[in-house]
């Protein structure tokens, strides 16, 4: 069992659903025109992911392999419907600006992926943590791209339009890879360097 810190590092960085696994890109590209939208969809996806992981893990011993996909779809679709109702009731502004993309969380394969890969094989608490970590990683990416596009679009209109979404995501993935490879180089170059400096 890996430590909590390791799990967070994996979810936010090394296995980030958006940046590394490249899952759930449809909503990611479509709604990240502003920080507020990114945050809204991020929170919605995060809560669905935590709840679906919880539920899938709780019933995992009764799920026969043949029917696991319909089970996931059933669970995720119900949870998304509930989330949509909650948004409509308590955060109507966000519901209006996100529109169809809240119901479309059903089709976010990052969520099914966590159900299949993690929640169906692990205990409830571990699955909740996994859902939270992965969901947070996805949400932070949505917020970061939303912030980037909102800022840049004042100078460069294209950033607010669909092509801008692809460019922004490409830049984010490229930046992550650049940071990773620089870090890997430094680690092999200077083994004698104090560990603290590697964290920069």
């Amino acid at each position: 069992m890996t430590s909590l810190g390791e799990r967070f590092k994996a979810g936010l960085w090394y296995e980030n659903p958006g940046l590394v696994q490249l899952l759930g890109l449809c909503p990611l590209l479509a709604v990240t025109t502003t920080v507020a939208n990114g945050l809204g969809l991020g929170i919605a996806t995060l809560s669905v992911m935590v709840l679906s992981n919880t539920l899938v893990s709780a019933v995992r011993r009764w799920i026969q392999p043949e029917i696991r996909i319909p089970m996931y779809v059933l669970i995720i679709a119900s949870l998304v419907t509930c989330t949509e109702l909650v948004f409509k009731a308590w955060i109507p502004v966000l519901d209006r600006s996100l529109g169809i993309f809240i119901p479309l969380i059903v089709t976010n394969c990052a969520i099914v992926a966590r159900a299949e890969v993690f929640a169906s094989r692990n205990a409830v608490v571990a699955s909740i943590i996994d859902g939270f970590v992965m969901g947070t990683g996805f949400a932070l990416l949505l917020i970061a791209i939303g912030a980037f596009r909102e800022l840049v679009s004042t100078a460069w209109l294209l950033a607010a339009l669909p092509p801008g979404a692809f460019f922004s995501l490409a830049l984010a993935v490229a930046a992550k890879n650049a940071i990773d490879s620089r870090r890997a180089n430094r680690e092999t170059d200077s083994v004698t360097e104090p560990a603290g400096q590697l964290e920069r």
């Binding site: 059933l74 669970i75 119900s78 419907t81 109702l85 909650v86 209006r96």
Partner: protein, 214 residues
């Protein structure tokens, strides 16, 4: 053996479906009222621009009525009308209509007419007019559309319900006479309809709204 698996799978799925349905039903029960309230508030907020100075105490959402085409109002599809009352006396009717002769595509307009035939306000709900020219029908971009408030079929007379370029009384937006002409035309058409159908508009039964079922 095979049959047993199928039966088990069926039972599991059924149980799960029941559980999920219960979950959704419970959430619906919990959020139902708030959602209806939010929708009502949202509608009243979006109708606000054409209700300036209109005093009413009725529920706008419940007053919604749909007039199927052909109706003599602008637009080829059904027109939606909200009615406002004060002590059951009609004070204003709000028409959501479509001006089809915009510069690029239809312009959805909300036109408020007081019971005495004066306009309480006109508001562009949606359009695809040219940014920087025709899109000045939006209140956020210019006050052009506010010139209609207070006007009626008597002010100006019928021939005045045109833009200045066509010899009428209404200023056009510079560089957007097509848009201006479409809006002026739709407003006067709505006023003419209101004049000849006033009784009917206020007497029409309201739509059966699914949101208001309870």
């Amino acid at each position: 053996m095979r049959d047993a698996t199928v039966t088990r799978s069926g039972i599991t799925l059924t149980a799960m479906a029941a559980l999920c349905t219960a979950l959704v039903a419970f959430t619906h029960e919990l959020t139902d009222e708030r959602i209806a309230d939010n929708e009502r508030a949202w509608l009243e907020q979006s109708l606000q621009p054409v209700l300036e100075g209109v005093e009413f105490d009725s529920d706008l959402t419940a007053s919604r009525t749909t007039i199927p085409a052909p109706h003599g109002l602008p637009g080829a599809d059904a027109a939606i009308v909200y009615r406002a009352f004060q002590d059951t006396t009609p004070v204003a009717a709000l028409f959501a209509v479509t001006a089809r002769n915009g510069y690029s595509g239809p312009i959805r307009l909300l036109i408020g007419v007081r019971a005495d035939g004066r306009i309480s306000g006109v508001h562009a709900l949606s359009h695809r007019e040219t940014p920087g020219l025709g899109d000045r029908i939006d209140r956020s971009k210019s006050d052009w559309i506010e010139q209609f408030a207070g006007r009626s079929l008597a002010d100006p007379a019928t021939t005045g319900w045109r833009i200045t370029r066509d010899g009428g009384d209404f200023d056009q937006m510079t560089g957007a006479s097509v848009t201006s002409r479409a809006v002026v035309g739709a407003v006067s058409e709505t006023l003419l309809y209101f004049e000849s159908n006033k009784q009917g508009v206020f007497a029409r039964p309201a739509d059966q709204a699914e949101v208001l079922a309870e």
